[in-house]
């Protein structure tokens, strides 16, 4: 049975996150456009997959993520994925656990969907979660 565009994007997103968690650079290069534009939560922009420091596991190690909400909007050959993700991992060997609003833009290049842009916004810590983390 043929997959819907939404299911294809879901699969591409799952492959991307698996590649990020397992630091699978080969898989990452398949789903990410070489000239992708990435803006991190501090507003720093990197153009080109080679320039993104967070793909270096000694800088960022992503241990897991939970999708809290996700919405996909299609513009013919473009899919804009907007989601809230809880991410856990280590940044410069310091453990973190935070929620991000993430915007990912996928483009169909005639053969497959590739990530062309992504932006992260750090969400404020929820008071109740903060209390839990102190326990």
């Amino acid at each position: 049975m043929s997959l819907t565009h939404t299911q294809i994007i879901d699969e591409a997103e799952a492959r991307l996150i698996q590649a990020l968690i397992f630091n699978d650079i080969k898989s990452l290069r398949r789903v990410v456009h070489p000239e992708m534009v990435f803006t991190d939560e501090s507003g720093q922009t990197y153009i080109g997959i080679e320039k993104i420091p967070y793909l270096n596991p000694s800088v960022l190690s992503l241990h897991g993520r939970e999708i809290r909400s996700r919405n996909i909007t299609f513009f013919t050959n473009i899919a804009v994925v907007n989601c809230v993700e809880k991410r856990t991992g280590a940044y410069l060997n310091i453990l973190f656990e935070r929620e991000f609003r993430i915007n990912r833009v996928w483009k169909f290049n005639g053969r497959q969907w590739q990530l062309i842009a992504a932006t992260l916004v750090l969400l404020p810590e929820v008071a109740s979660e903060k209390q839990c983390s102190y326990k």
Binding site: T45, F75, V105, K107
Partner: protein
């Protein structure tokens, strides 16, 4: 002389900035895709051009938007504009001012239209 794609997108981006400051709804309607998705610096998402904060001037109004840096990447019919902007305005009648890193995605469909944008406070 014909303009390059880079110049056309840059022009569209400048016109959008002007329209946001001037509240030019006619220009906004032309430049924004009806299903445009905007994520503000607080992580709130607005779907659909009609629901964007700029269409509610009583709540959110930009009085100054100065582009300090602009970079444009092309992916065939898609352009990704990243800009550092100085913004001033009013949110619920409370003045705000700050530097923002904004990513705007443009798609060509007879003319360039903005389909998505995200702003991050620097």
């Amino acid at each position: 002389m014909n303009k390059t794609h880079h110049e056309v997108v840059e022009d569209a981006d400048v016109r959008l900035t002007d329209a946001l400051v001037n509240g030019n709804t006619c220009a906004l309607k032309h430049l924004l895709h009806p299903n445009a998705v905007y994520t503000n610096p607080h992580g709130e998402v607005f779907s659909g051009a009609q629901n964007l904060p700029v269409n509610n001037p009583y709540m959110y109004r930009i009085t100054l938007m100065q582009t300090l840096e602009r970079s444009i990447s092309f992916f065939n019919n898609v352009a990704v504009v990243t800009a550092i902007e100085k913004r001033e305005g009013l949110f619920m009648d409370i003045p705000f001012s700050g530097l923002y890193s904004t990513t705007r995605m443009w798609k060509f469909n007879r003319h360039w239209q903005m389909i998505a944008a995200t702003s991050v406070m620097i």
